[in-house]
């Protein structure tokens, strides 16, 4: 009896293994918490969003606007910039002096032109400052030069030159045929405006500059979004001009509830950012949280919305995107109507939608435009494709090198036959093919458009065929790899597809270590991660693990529209019903 008990006492090896099982996560956690503490010191995202820090975001709507869109924000923020620089040059009202000041500032900018003139009948000296190419010259000639020089009517009854204030009023109210006019005393700011395409008018006697907006705006027309093509649905995509983009959203339908809040981001290169949501749908807390996070953005220049995405997302170490980017206005609109919020940034056609759930990444606007059965089936197909693109090579590895007993006999025989003479292990073989496919795909992206498809054919067909003939890889693997690649293209979101592509390699390594068991473990790990992941406080898998039927109706299956009466409950919209 006693001996039996002693036999049951685990050996030192087991105790050691137990200690290792404890130690590995323990030290990992210590390292992580240390790293996180360090990171918190660097980034500002975590909890501190103070006004002065960050991209110099000012209070929205604090001062009256003189321009339509761009105005006080830019002005006030530029004040901060100039303050930072410690110099502030203002106009005096003497044209020569002012011109001199301006020329000094723009000494190394030879593309700034000066056009001197006299105003109409009073012969007051004035000067127009503009940049070649940025300014719409026709517009300038017609709407600024011509009225100024021909200005006889407004000064008809005047003998003397009017007071600066009156002159300014006359100029703005009666002469200049420009809608956006702004008055500034700051030379720096006026230079900034000139460099952005406006015309600055300096007039003798007025101690300020009139910024006349006449940018030529080399903008792209509205084109079909390239990264998210649909067969049925709107062909319009966002372009690089913020005002166009907001206009597209406004034009989607008449609503007085569509809010557009403007922010300025970027410390050195300032850009406008618009936060948009539907006032009586979006949850206030969500909007406040997004605003708070936008204010924490602290970076020189926001080149693209991807910067914003990465700077405000919840978990930057997750392989999954927690903010959706899209070129499609209809997608943005649909998201807004579900109670989400969107961010538009000047200079990029990609809008950001947040919060996002995993299900959204597999949905396409077409699902709603087509009949519901087709839409549901196609959506189901996409889920299936996602699973394939994630697990197919891993399953291939685990079945071939670990569990040959789990594949059908006939298949096993043909696989064995096809792999005779393949010199590499299954993992290496799969890695070779997968990596070359990824290279091929990357190369295809970079190549000029006419060559791209040809490249695909060369790579896909010829290399694959040659590799099989040469006995480097087995034909079955070529099938697996191509099916995987095709599946990952069926993701309606390109970036979601990329995530899957990356995770596929992790799955392959798990499979190479533990076979099928490893694949299951990988699935569990992935699920654990997704379960714990949150996007702006909304569980990322939210719709995959729905609580209510209303969320099911539009998840894998897209029920007929008459049944889609509710908005996703996870977002806690103010108005939970779409209708009725």
């Amino acid at each position: 009896m006693w001996n039996e008990v002693i036999e049951l006492i685990p050996s030192w090896g087991v105790v050691f293994q137990g200690i290792m099982i404890f130690c590995v996560p323990f030290f990992l956690l210590r390292t992580i918490s240390w790293a996180k503490a360090k990171e918190d010191r660097i980034t500002t995202r975590a909890e501190k969003a103070t006004g002065s820090k960050g991209g110099g975001v000012s209070n929205v709507g604090a001062s009256g606007r003189t321009s339509i869109l761009e105005g006080p924000e830019e002005q006030s923020s530029s004040e901060i910039v100039t303050k930072d620089r410690g110099t502030r040059i203002t106009y005096s009202g003497h044209l020569k002096e002012d011109l001199q000041k301006f020329k000094e500032l723009s000494a190394d900018m030879h593309d700034v032109n000066v056009r001197e003139l006299r105003i109409g009948s009073i012969k007051t000296r004035a000067a127009l400052l503009y940049v070649n190419g940025l300014t719409d010259k026709d517009k300038m000639d017609q709407n600024i030069l011509k009225p100024l020089m021909n200005a006889y009517q407004p000064f008809k009854n005047m003998d003397t030159i009017p007071e600066a204030k009156d002159l300014q009023d006359i100029l703005i109210h009666e002469i200049l045929l420009i809608s956006e006019i702004e008055l500034t005393e700051d030379t720096n700011l006026s230079l900034q405006k000139v460099l952005f395409g406006s015309v600055v008018l300096l007039v003798e006697g007025i101690s300020g500059a009139l910024v006349l907006s006449s940018p030529k705006g080399n903008t792209r027309g509205i084109q079909e979004p390239e990264s998210e093509a649909v067969l049925r649905g709107s062909r319009s995509g966002f372009n690089e001009t913020l005002s166009d983009n907001t206009a597209i959203l406004r034009r989607h339908g008449q609503s007085t509830e569509l809010a557009m809040i403007s922010f300025t981001v970027g410390k050195r290169m300032q850009k406008e950012l618009i936060l948009t949501y539907i006032k009586d749908v979006a949850n206030d807390e969500l909007v406040e949280e997004v605003k708070r996070r936008i204010k924490t953005i602290d970076i020189d220049d926001v080149q693209e919305s991807g910067y914003v995405e990465q700077l405000i997302e919840d978990n930057s170490y997750s392989p999954f995107q927690q903010i959706q980017n899209t070129e499609r206005p209809d997608r943005v609109m649909a998201a807004l109507l579900e109670g989400r919020v969107a961010i538009l940034i000047d200079g990029t056609p990609f809008a950001l939608i947040m919060p996002v759930t995993l299900g959204m990444l597999l949905q396409s606007p077409e699902d709603y435009n087509d009949r519901w059965m087709v839409g549901s089936l196609i959506r189901l197909l996409r889920f299936f494709a996602a699973a394939i693109s994630l697990f197919a090579p891993a399953l291939y590895i685990s079945f071939l090198s670990f569990q040959p007993g789990l594949i059908p006999t006939k298949l096993a025989i043909s696989i064995i036959s096809s792999r005779q003479g393949v010199p590499f292990s299954v993992l290496i073989e799969a890695l070779i093919m997968e990596i070359s496919i990824e290279i091929l795909r990357e190369a295809g992206l970079r190549l000029p458009k006419p060559i791209g498809p040809a490249m695909g054919i060369v790579g896909g067909l010829i290399i694959g065929q040659a590799a099989v003939e040469a006995g480097i890889v087995s034909p079955i693997l070529v099938i697996v790899v191509s099916v995987t690649a095709v599946s990952s293209f069926s993701m309606p979101m390109y970036s979601a597809g990329m995530t899957l592509r990356m995770l596929r390699f992790a799955a392959m390594f798990f499979a190479a270590i533990f076979g099928l068991y490893g694949v299951v473990l990988f699935f569990l790990l992935l699920s654990s991660h997704l379960i714990k992941l949150k996007s702006f406080g909304v569980p990322y898998l939210g719709l995959a693990v729905p609580n209510k039927t209303v969320n099911w109706k539009d998840f894998i299956f897209r029920m007929p529209l008459q049944f889609l009466t509710g908005r996703p409950t996870l977002l806690k919209p103010k108005d939970p019903l779409r209708k009725g």
């Binding site: 670990f402 040959p404 270590i513």
Partner: protein, 399 residues
């Protein structure tokens, strides 16, 4: 964000710490597809038995023959051109009293690891099955982790090894044996496929059952009746020939389809009936401790071939007459089978015991220990009801 690092380090650690412990490239595996078990003593070596074992019953020496597939080399082109002429299997034999030892001895002869995942059939020779309890013979196969319980069992009247030598070119005998059960709807000489999963229960519960008998036939293999395994001993006691097996199929109603051929007793004209479905029910009656059985067989089918003196319309009268002839034939077949079981083999393998157990559990408990002997004396009555539904495209009999 904690999680992410954990991931990375976890996976890196795993890959460093581990390696691929259990992975074996599939191309280095040798797929066993069939096993044939022969008695080593069969070939006149009986006298060689070692005397030092004394009176202990020494396990019999077994020649186990393993059938493997030959991979056809890479590339579909080669396979196509080679077509069906290449022999795509090979056999290896080893002698040992332990089947496991025999299979491991193969590793002395071949580089590639034999794996049992895709084992399809086990063929046991008559000699071996008659002298050994089947439980011992299949013990390794039911215990192994690779070999699935879906492996089919066969017995053969001759040497099991010969079965594996014979086949049409391009086909592996094991696969032929496995696939032949797809013909159960065409011929009633095929018993239901008996897998390992289906024999462990009867062997443990001492119930008798049948195993399909397969014999080498010219250059091929052929199913010829069935071997009867007696439950109490687990050994083969005898064979049912093809027509007796058919009788068994009728008794148990396990047929899916097939042929029923007989001659009109009056004019010796051929009547062939194609069985489309059959159903049998064994009713156990107990009267004052006297057990009797009544077998009710129902079947539907159609004329396949009908010969007659002169061409005749197959009207109701003829159909009725033919039906009676066919029914009589079925009864005769069943009687032959039962008689063989009762008088010759003293083994009941047709499910009478099961019926008794299900219908009269108490009676069954009293007789089950001596069931085979009890059964030999039990009277059995038969009722056959055939329904000739149609006569195909021709409604007259052939001249």
């Amino acid at each position: 964000m904690k999680k992410w690092r954990m991931w990375i380090v976890l996976s890196v650690l795993c890959s460093i710490l581990s390696g691929c412990w259990s992975s074996t490239p599939i191309e280095d595996l040798d797929m066993q597809i069939g096993v044939a078990l022969d008695s080593a003593e069969e070939s006149g070596e009986t006298g060689v038995a070692n005397p030092e074992y004394g009176n202990h019953t020494k396990p019999a020496k077994i020649i186990s023959t393993y059938q493997f597939t030959i991979p056809q080399g890479s590339g579909g082109a080669l396979m196509k051109s080679a077509g069906n002429s290449i022999k795509n299997y090979y056999n290896m034999s080893e002698t040992s009293d332990s089947i496991f030892e025999a299979i491991r001895q193969l590793s002395l002869r071949t580089r590639r690891t034999p794996i049992g995942h895709h084992l399809k059939v086990i063929v046991i020779s008559e000699e071996l099955a008659r002298s050994n309890n089947l439980t011992k013979l299949i013990d390794f196969f039911t215990r192994d982790n690779d070999i699935r319980p879906s492996v089919m069992l066969f017995v053969t009247k001759g040497k099991a090894k010969d079965v594996f030598e014979n086949t049409l070119p391009g086909q592996a005998p094991s696969f032929v044996l496995e696939g032949i059960f797809n013909n159960r709807d065409r011929n009633m000489g095929i018993w239901e496929p008996v897998t390992l999963a289906k024999v462990v229960g009867p062997l443990e519960g001492k119930r008798s059952f049948l195993l399909q008998n397969v014999i080498p036939y010219e250059k091929e293999i052929k199913l010829a009746g069935a071997g009867v395994i007696k439950g109490s001993t687990g050994k083969l006691v005898g064979f049912l020939d093809e027509s007796e097996l058919e009788g068994m199929v009728w008794l148990t109603g396990k047929g899916i389809g097939g042929v029923l051929k007989t001659y009109d007793p009056n004019n010796h004209n051929l009547i062939t009936y194609e069985v489309k479905s059959m159903h049998s029910k064994i009713k156990a009656n107990v009267n004052n401790g006297q057990i009797s059985f009544n077998v009710k067989v129902k079947s539907t089918g159609r004329y396949a071939e009908v010969f007659a003196k002169e061409s005749k319309k197959l009207h109701d009268g003829i159909v009725k007459k033919d039906k009676a002839v066919l029914q009589k034939h079925v009864v005769e077949m069943m009687q032959t089978t039962v008689k063989k079981m009762q008088k010759e083999l003293h083994t009941e393998a047709a499910g009478f015991g099961t019926s008794l157990r299900n219908q009269h559990p108490a009676v069954w408990r009293s007789v089950k220990d001596n069931w085979d002997e009890t059964f030999s004396e039990i009277p059995i009555t038969y009722e056959v009801n055939l329904n000739i539904e149609e006569y195909g495209a021709s409604d007259t009999s052939a001249e």
